[in-house]
Symmetry: C2
Subunit: 454 residues, 2 copies
Amino acid sequence: MATRSTIMDTNSFRPEMAAALDPQTRRLTEEREVLGPAYRLFYRKPVHLTKGRGARVWDADGEEYLDVYNNVASVGHANPRVVDAIARQAGLLNTHTRYLHENVLDYAQDILSTMPGELDRVMFQCTGSEANDLAVRVARAYTGGEGVIVTAEAYHGNSALTSGLSPALGTAQELGLTMRMIPTPDTYRLEIDGCPGNACPAAEFGAWMAGEVRRAVADMERHGIRFAALLADSIFSSDGVYPDPAGYLGPVIDTVHELGGVWIADEVQPGFTRTGDAFWGFQRQGIVPDLVTSGKPMANGLPTSLMAARHEVLEPFAGSIPYFNTFGGNPVCMAAAQATLDVMRDEDTMGNAKRVGTVFRRAVEGLMADHPCIGDVRGAGLYIGCEIVVPGTKEPDQATALDILETLRMHHVLTSVCGRFGNILKLRPPLVFSEEDVDMFMDAMAVTLRELGL
Amino acid sequence: MATRSTIMDTNSFRPEMAAALDPQTRRLTEEREVLGPAYRLFYRKPVHLTKGRGARVWDADGEEYLDVYNNVASVGHANPRVVDAIARQAGLLNTHTRYLHENVLDYAQDILSTMPGELDRVMFQCTGSEANDLAVRVARAYTGGEGVIVTAEAYHGNSALTSGLSPALGTAQELGLTMRMIPTPDTYRLEIDGCPGNACPAAEFGAWMAGEVRRAVADMERHGIRFAALLADSIFSSDGVYPDPAGYLGPVIDTVHELGGVWIADEVQPGFTRTGDAFWGFQRQGIVPDLVTSGKPMANGLPTSLMAARHEVLEPFAGSIPYFNTFGGNPVCMAAAQATLDVMRDEDTMGNAKRVGTVFRRAVEGLMADHPCIGDVRGAGLYIGCEIVVPGTKEPDQATALDILETLRMHHVLTSVCGRFGNILKLRPPLVFSEEDVDMFMDAMAVTLRELGL
C-alpha cells in the first residue's frame, strides 16, 4: 500500500493535462503561473466558479454544480444575511480591538455560550492556522513543555509551527523536532484485542488510543522533551473521518491530563454544528478541552478564526506575552461571524446536519451491497467518509477514488478525497444541504458507478 | 534611559483607570475580560468608535475624531468603492484558490505591475504575520540557512516564528535561537565617524549598517548558523521611523547578497504609496528585494496579505512544500484589494501622501523652535515620527510623549507612539489625509502643547 507524498496533490490538476481544456479554462490555468508552483487546482478539468447560492454553485458557462465539499460556506454560498451584515458594517466602520467596539464583545459572549462554562475566554485571529499556532504557544506557556502530539495524518495549519505539526503535508515538509505522532484511529482497519475497531466499545478503543499517547510521551521524555499538548480534531478529518465510537476520546483526555499536558481541540472541521449531534465536535465525544480553535466555517468565508480557552490555561501566555492581531476580531469579521451564528440557530443547521446527514449516510451505505468498491461508510452529520477499496479487501484504492471524484465532477457534483491513502471520498457540504441535494448526489453517484463499471 | 518591557503597553488603558470612566465605557472595558489579558485598549480613556469616513471617525456619542494613526483604512474609513466591491463579490461567490477565479489572477498581475520585473510571483495570505512567516520559510529553503537578521526594535508578526523575530514584543517574548539583531538605524542619535546620522551621506550610513550585518552574520557562523535573510521594513517604523538618508539600504542589500542571504522587504508599513515617493518603500531606497510582504493597507481592512517573490527564490519552497491558505486570495478579499488599488491610482494617493505629507511634516517641524520638547521630526510622505525629548538633550521623554497623545485624544485627535523608548509620536493617517486635516491636527497640537506647558 503506497502512500502519496502529500494529500494536497491527490486531487489536482497538472500542467500536462492542459491540452484537454477549452481555451478559456486553459488560459486561466496558464495565468496561474504568476502564483508560483505551490498553488493547486482541483480536478483534471478545473472548475471556474463564478456564482453560488446555498449548496449550489455555477461556473462561467452558467452550468450548475452541487457543492458536496465546501465547509467554509457553512450557511450556504452568498448567504444573504451574512452578505448584508458584512456590507452594513463595512459601510460603517472597520477598525481593530484597541478601540472599544460592541461587535467583538457581543460575539465573544455569544460563541462562548455554545461551549461548556470552563471555556470562558476567547481570542480572535484570521485563520485556523493562526488559531492553532497561538494555541500551541499558550499550551507551552501553561505546561512549561514543548512536546505536541498529533495523529499520523493530521493537518493543523500552514505557519512554520503548525506545518511542522501537519504530517498530511507529506515528506518534503519537515516535522517539528519536539512533536510526536500517534496512529490514525482507523476504526475500519485496526483491531483491538481481536475486535474490529468499528465494533469496539468506546472505552476499549479509547484505552488503545490512550496507550498510544503514553507511548509518545514516554518517547518525548526519553529525548528530554516535556509534554505540552495533544492537538487533534475530534472527527479526525484529515486522517480519514473517524468520529465513532463516540466517547472514545474520554480516556484519552484523562491520560493527557494525567501526563501533564492539555488538549487542544481543533474544531475547524467538526465544529459549528457540522456533526449534527452538538455545536462542537468535542461535545459529541463528551470531553471538555483546555483550548479550542476554529476557523473555516465561522464567518461563511471572511477570514476569521478563534481560540477559546480556560482562563487559567490562557493566563501564563496572555498575562505576559503581548499578542495583537490587527484584523482579528475586527467589526466586519465579527459582524459576519455573528450573522453566521444567527443563521445557524435560526435555521437549525444542527438539526439539519443530523436529519439530512443521516439520510445522506444511509443512502451512501445503501450502495455498498451492489458496489463492493465501497468498503466503509462512516461519519457524523454532514461529514461523511466513504472508503474506496479493492473489492473483497480493505486495500485502499486511490485510483478508483480519483476516478469517482473526477466523474462526479463531470456530472456537476463537487467532492474530494482525504485520508492517508487518499482513497476516502470526503463528503462535507454546506450545512444547508437538503434531501433534494442528497437525491442529486445519489443520482450522479449512480451514473458515475455505472460509467466506471464499479 | 529606561526601556519598557513592550511597545504594546506604552499607550494603553489599565484597569485601575476604570473609575474615571463614564458608565458605558466602563461597562465595555469590563466586558473585555472575556478576551483574556492579552488584549490592550488605547488610551487612559478608551475610545468607542462606531462610524468612519475618510480620515474621520465618530464615537458612540457622535463626537468626531481625526484619525492620524490608522494605516489599515488606507483609502479612508468605509471607502464606498471598497465597500461596494466587497458587497458585490460577497453576494456572488466566495471560495478558494483551488477553483479558477479571475479576481486572484487579475489582482496578482496588477499588483506585480507596481513592482520591479524581477518580482514576478505573488502568493496571498490573510495577515502580515502569515506573509512574513511564509517569507522566512521561503528564504530558508532557498538559502539552506536558518539565520535571520532584524533590527533591534522590529516587529514582524504574531506567529510563533515571527514573534521570535520581533524584539519589539519585549523581554517576555523569547527571541528565536537562530536570529540576530542589528542596531536601530537611529539617524537622530547615532554618529558615524563623528558625523551625526541625519547629516550623513547615504553611502556612509549604509556602510555602517552593512558593517553591522557583517558582524551579525559572523556571530551566526561562530554558532554554526547559516545566514538566510535580512527581514526589515525600509522605513523602520517600529524602531522609530528612519527613512533617510534615502538610498542607505543599497550597500546593505549588496552585503546581504554577498553573504549568501536574501532581503525580505516587510512593506506592511511603507508600502502602498505611504511614503509619497514610490508605490513601495524599497523603491524609495533604490533596492530590489528578493521577497516582499505586505498586509494592513492592502484591502482597506479585510484580512488580506501578500508575499511577492523572485521566481527563482520561491522555487525551492513552493516547488516541494505544499502551501494552501483557505482564505488567502479568495474572491471577496481580492475584490477588496483590487478596489483599494484602483482608488490608490484614481485618487493618486501617492501624490497626496507626498503633497500633504510634506505640508504636514513642515508644519510639525515648525513647532520645534518654540517647543524644545520636540527634538526631531522625520518621515516620508504620510508617515511622520516626532521625537519627544528632555529639552536641550536627546534624552527620550516617554512620559511627555504619552501626555501629548492622551491630551490630543481629549481634543479628538488619534495618534500613538513608537520606538525603543516609546517617546516618538507616530503620525500615520489614512492616505486620503487632507491639508484641512493637517490644520485640525495642528490646532489640536497647539492647544495640547499649551495645556501641558511645553
